[in-house]
Symmetry: C2
Subunit: 205 residues, 2 copies
Amino acid sequence: MILCDIGNTTTDILENGVYRKIPLTEFKPELLSGEAWYCCVNHNMSGMLEVLPNWHNIVSVIDWNKYYPTMGIDRVMVCEAIDDGVIMDAGSAITVDVMRDGVHQGGFISLGLRAAQEAYARLSPALTTSFNFEVDLTIMAKNTPDALTVGFLAPLVHKIESLGKPIYMTGGDAQIMARYFSDAIVDERLVFKGMQKLINKGLQC
Amino acid sequence: MILCDIGNTTTDILENGVYRKIPLTEFKPELLSGEAWYCCVNHNMSGMLEVLPNWHNIVSVIDWNKYYPTMGIDRVMVCEAIDDGVIMDAGSAITVDVMRDGVHQGGFISLGLRAAQEAYARLSPALTTSFNFEVDLTIMAKNTPDALTVGFLAPLVHKIESLGKPIYMTGGDAQIMARYFSDAIVDERLVFKGMQKLINKGLQC
């Protein structure tokens, strides 16, 4: 079985336990044979996949009573992967969700690291600087790069820590974010784990 | 004595106890007689004021050993106004500073409410929505507007509350932010208070 997580610029593919990431422009689903399940945020690609009989949209097996209707499909997948815990997906946005006994307790959406830095830069040339990821988030800052890093990260980290344990992290910036948590579990395949769990549940029905 | 807080679009003027805000385009400092002190973030206007003998730049009386060199002048002013407490200036950016016994402990810079909403909107049409300021920040969100509002405000409020009391708020969004704190003190004239304290200190020397 093939699992695909299709974004707006890249596609993550898990095929017979082998993981690869390819640019979306190189993704040719019609050339892949065998049963395939996909999780897709790209509307053009969704349209293309719908007509291929061996490609199945994971949306069709989600129990939407558990989530709110406009919740992102990749966010639903990482929640499906975890029964108990706090899940952070650190990409262009940072989504944070709480699952308890397999029930979604709600969540929130923060800006991603890049989006936050760009937003500061738009405010003023004086705030056009990269985050200093070496900064100690527990103390107040005394220079501009630290003031921006602490301003964005310290509240976010503090809030996430207040939500309880365990904390799971996925997404492109998971490794950077993990350094601020003493015992976060980084798992780059959380979307695939959620997909696999949902598919297995569907097959048992 | 006249006190002026000169921004990039408006000027706040305190003249003989009377406060007024005017567009920067209508601000004609050469027409004001008497001694005047100004705090200015607009470089063009600074150049103009430097040649007027009755206009004094508040920068000249700041003890810069207390602050870091790139710290915004209006941020220094609100710190000078308060000897003990947490000071939030909620404008295009939200600055947060801690003062203890008249000593600056450091601070941080968050995005302003408008900048944050615009940054979310840039990420995705699905995140193009206004904050819901009625939301309960203590619970996890179950719809998109709440998820963005909680995502931006809950970490910030949580962090500021951890910094101790009292909490002073100034700036255009101070009233909106104050609703999330049980006993914040909103004072729209904190910049002027800081200026006045500095001027008084200077006159005593």
